[in-house]
Structure formats: C-alpha cells, structure tokens
C-alpha cells in the first residue's frame, strides 16, 4: 500500500522509514510562523525559563492582525514583539505594511515543497499550496516550539479532492472551497490532511491554490496540500534559497475519502450567516441588500483576485449606500496591482483602499459593522459578531461575486454583470 503526502513528508522529517496515519511523531519544523500574538507567546516563552529561542532562523514573525495599531493596547503589544525580535536575533521579522502572514511567509521564501511549517494561526494550512505540510497550533505550543525547536504531531488521515474538467468563467477557487465546505460541513475534514488534485487545480494560478488551502481550515483540516508543479517552481524561483525535494503522494495511497467533482458544473457559491458551511449557490441568495463589501484578506487579497474585481468594476461605480473596502494581501500584491492600474480602477469605482493586513476580517478595526448591517466579504469566516456588532451579518463569496455585489448593492451573480 502506498503512502499519502502527510505520511511521507512526516516520515522524512522525523527520520523514519515510513509513518502511518494515527502515529505520533516528533519533528523539527522548518518554520514557526507567528503574528501579532507573538507578544503573548513571548510572555509564555519567558515563563518556561529558557533564555534563547532554540533556533532563531526557524521563526518567522509578521505583524498583520491589527496594523497599524488601532490603540494603545495593540501598540504596546507590537512594541513587545519588536523588542522580542531584537533580543532573540530573529531576522525574518516583517513589520506592519508587509502584509498578511500567510501571504508574506511564501513571498519571503519561507515555504517550499516538502517543508514542515507550524504557525500560531488557524489559516497556516495556506502554505500547503506550495507542497508544504503546514498546520495551525496554539500559543502555548508555539512557545514550546520556540523553546525546544520540536513539536509532536499525529500523522493525519488523508482525504483527496479530485477536481476534473475546467471551472466556468467567473467561477473561482473560492467557489470550489465554499462548495466543498457546504458538502463536508465545518468538521468534515477534522484532523485530516486534504490533498487537492486534478485538471482544474493544475489550471489554477498559485494564488488561487492558496485560496483552496486557506479555506481548508473551515472544514477542520489539519493541513491541505496542492502538489507542486512548474507553476509552483516558477513562483518560488528567486524566493527560496535552500534546495528542496518535493514530496508527492503515492498513486495507491490510502484515503479515508475521495471526493470527485466536475469543476465545469460548479456555480458561484455564497456562505450565509453564521457558519461557513451554510452554503448556497449565489442564485439562491441573490437580491439580498448589503451595506459593505470587503475584497481582500489571506483568502482573496492577491493580484488575481483584485484583477477580477477590477475587470467587473472598471469604468463603473459601486451602488449608492454601499461601502467597498479593498485590502491587498501584501505589499507585493499592492505594488503589482498599482503597476497594472487595478488599484486605480477600483478607487475610481468608489473603493476605499486599506493597507495590506487582516483589516476588518477579525472585527478589531478598519470596517466593523453596526447592528443590523450586512457585509459580503471574500474572507474565510462569517461567525456571528466576527466583524463588529453581534447583530450584524456576514456572507462570504468570491472576488467576482463581491465586485458584482458592490456594483448593484445586492448580492449578485457575477455571471450576470
């Protein structure tokens, strides 16, 4: 019997000949990703009583959650992180303005095929788009990894998603993710490694693949992975300096479930309040009035996402009474979108541009909602009260659906604009 991606990559990392799902292994991760919560992790780290982090080159720290600091509390937290970085000699530190940690991590060369990455954020699986094993952990554990340089991991069972044929026009990776989460529910991939493969995946850009792996957290996945190909290697060229060996699942590996989908039959999908698995085709929710549209975040704030939005909004103007917030996932994406004129088009159409970062996604600043308001967002969570008032509602959709919705002021099928 062959082995899954997770079984192979963790065996390699643990120095074992092979591993099997369910086995507990101890590995030295290649990277530990932390963000604004570094200050809290650093405080826990100090309690352990170890003076120095085990390996400063393992740590990647990105300030992204509430940046620039919204108030004194956040400012003090950022200050503590900067002091920790200086004290510990951590060179991979990216201060406010660089972007969201899940975007900055690969951009700065900290993700590669076969790498094992852990991060104190639930969307750490995003880096699986590069053929890495990437999983989210908690703060306590992140502090322990800082101190010891090691982590115990249970080799996850694997689930394979096979996406054949091509996606229709204006149907994107986000729609695939939402459809899958609706199918599998919020816990359908609990503890599992999700492998994405098939023609439609091969046809996707690296950025779109990141949307898939990012959203896998919303079905409970431990990690998600897209097999690296020429597109991956081209994207990583000039970013990753060390040599790497890609890890591929065996053709006869054992999966707990194989899901086969015909991409050509998919329609744009929307997650309705208040859970990500409350999914419906956009046609079923079309017409619902919105107050705000958000295009960005670690799910859909990349150049290809902004391009799609600009294509729909170019030369037009968003509906009266709608606020459109655009926040690129990173400085690099912002610069590329500026160079292409995408940002100019969006601003001319009435968008409010925010700095690269998490923005309003987690409800701490930059676009929180009042009671009774509705936002359609390209982000990954629509939990009750996540973006401000508990009495506000969040719908999730693709960049195309978001742009079409901003244009009309009601949830709109992007195939109709």
């Amino acid at each position: 019997m062959g082995k899954t991606f997770a079984e192979k990559v963790l065996a390699q990392k643990a120095g074992l000949k092979q591993t099997t799902a369910g086995q507990i292994v101890t590995v030295k991760p290649d990277r530990l990703l932390t963000h604004d919560n570094t200050s809290a992790i650093a405080a826990t780290f100090r309690k352990i009583g170890v003076a120095r982090v085990a390996d400063p080159s393992m740590n990647v720290i990105v300030l992204d959650h509430v940046t620039p600091a919204a108030d004194e509390t956040y400012a003090t937290s950022h200050q503590a992180t900067r002091a920790f970085v200086a004290e510990q000699g951590i060179s991979a530190f990216y201060d406010i303005g660089e972007g969201i940690c899940h975007q900055v991590l690969p951009e700065k060369g900290h993700a590669w095929p076969g790498a094992v990455i852990v991060g104190s954020d639930s969307h750490t699986p995003t880096a699986g788009a590069f053929g890495a094993f990437a999983a989210g952990i908690g703060r306590t554990e992140a502090a322990a990894v800082m101190a010891t340089g090691e982590i115990w991991l249970r080799v996850p069972e694997s689930l394979r998603v096979q996406l054949r044929e091509m996606l229709p026009s204006r149907v994107s990776a986000k729609d695939v993710s939402l459809y899958l989460i609706g199918l599998l529910r919020a816990d359908g991939a609990d503890y599992c490694s999700v492998e994405f493969a098939g023609e439609a995946i091969s046809a996707m850009s690296v950025g779109e693949r990141m949307t898939l792996t990012n959203m896998s957290a919303e079905m409970g996945a431990k990690n998600a992975v897209v097999e690296p190909d020429e597109k991956t290697f081209a994207w990583l060229a000039g970013r990753v300096s060390q040599p790497f060996t890609p890890v591929f699942a065996d053709a006869d590996a054992a999966y707990t479930r194989i899901i086969e989908l015909d991409a050509s039959t998919l329609a744009p999908q929307v997650a309705c309040p208040h859970t990500v698995d409350n999914v419906a085709p956009v046609t079923e929710v079309a017409g619902k009035r919105v107050d705000q549209v958000v295009i960005g975040t670690c799910t859909n704030g990349r150049l290809e996402d902004l391009r799609v939005a600009a294509e729909i909004l170019r030369g037009k103007h968003i509906a009266q009474g709608v606020r459109l917030l655009v926040l690129p996932a990173s400085r690099e994406n912002l610069q590329a979108a500026l160079a292409e004129g995408v940002i100019t088009d969006l601003i001319a159409a009435g968008a409010t541009l925010l700095n690269p970062g998490c923005g309003p996604c987690l409800g701490a600043h930059q676009g929180c909602m009042a009671p009774g308001e509705t936002t359609l967002s390209t982000s990954n969570r629509n939990f009750k009260g996540r973006m401000g008032s508990k009495d506000a509602t969040i719908y999730l959709g693709s960049p195309a659906t978001a742009a079409a919705t901003a244009l009309t002021g009601v949830i709109t099928d992007p195939r109709e604009v």
């Binding site: 507990i24 509390t73 937290s77 306590t140 919020a186 409800g363 009750k384 009260g385 996540r386």
Partner: protein, 177 residues
C-alpha cells in the same frame, strides 16, 4: 500526579431547540473583541458570552464543573484564550461528540481535559444540566448520577502524559529528566 478520575456538576450546552450545540466556534467561546487579554485571571468572565442563551455562563459556572456539547466544539481560530477561559473558571473537563483539531491540541497542551464521546448524538438526551457526572480519563468511562454508565474515548497516551505532568511545559521537563 493529577487525578485521572473526576466528578462534578454538569452543564449541557443546548441550543434554542434543545439540541446539543454543534460547531461552537472560538468566537462564541471567547469573542475576538477580547483578544488583547492575555492574563488568565481576566479571561474567565468572558467565557461563552457570544453563545446564544449562554451569555451569563461565567457567572453561573463554578470551579470543578463539567461541560457537555455536540460536534466540532472549538472550531475556528487557534486562539489560546478559548481554552484558557475554561481553565480560568476551573472547568474540570469538556465532554463533546468531537472537537476542532487545533482546539484539541491547545487543550491537551494546556492540561484541560477534553473527552471525546462519539456516541453523544445518541445518548446526549439522557444528560441534563445539574447532573453529577464522573469521568475516567484512562478508561473513558462516563457515569451519570452514580448510576448510568456510558463509554467515551479514553485519553491518548500523549494526552494522558501531558495531563498528568500538568501541561506541555511540565511534560517537556519530565521527558528530558
């Protein structure tokens, strides 16, 4: 060595329809508006304050109490406070049909006992808030009101070792010595 069998008063988290609450996410447990809080002592008061019908849980709970919920408890973000708020209140264990993956690790590493009870969808109706429940972490035995036995999953080896040590850090020390 910590006790591997505990007895306490039970809170059964049910929704408005009276079903066991499924998919209680980390924003319902510890809302993101309190994420700047990192001191354990301050966390307890906000526990479950964004879970409909349970907003005043922190005022009603007592140290030693147990909690019961449905599927996928603790889904969502990796925030440590969603585990630590229960520790702050002195909650002795959380029994659920299943747990969010990161949540489970966080709780194990922090020494908060989580009991996976896969057949809870079948037996959940038998439990009521106020029941006295005994849980054995080693065997997975659950006893309701000293009379009615059920079988949940025992702790895994690593979960038991970390729990007995106190938390991941204490466990690390024992492993090295």
């Amino acid at each position: 060595m910590k006790a591997t069998q505990i007895t306490g008063r039970l809170w059964v988290l049910r929704d408005a329809e009276g079903n066991l609450y499924n998919d209680i996410d980390t924003d319902m447990i510890f809302h993101n508006r309190y994420l700047h809080i990192t001191a354990l002592a301050q966390m307890g008061q906000y526990t479950l304050d964004n879970l409909k019908g349970w907003e005043d849980f922190a005022l009603r709970a007592q140290a030693g109490d147990l909690i019961m919920a449905g599927r996928n408890f603790g889904s969502g973000s990796s925030r440590q406070q969603a585990v630590d708020c229960f520790r702050a209140l002195g909650i002795a264990a959380i029994i659920a049909e299943s747990f969010g993956a990161i949540y489970k690790r966080n709780a194990i590493n922090s020494g908060l006992p989580l009991i996976a009870f896969p057949e809870l969808s079948k037996y959940g109706v038998r439990f009521q808030t106020g029941d006295t429940v005994t849980v054995n972490f080693v065997t997975g035995d659950v006893l309701r009101n000293s009379a009615e036995p059920f079988q949940a999953q025992p702790f895994s080896k690593v979960q038991l070792a970390i729990y007995e040590a106190g938390d991941l850090f204490e466990y690390g020390k024992t492993a090295e010595s």
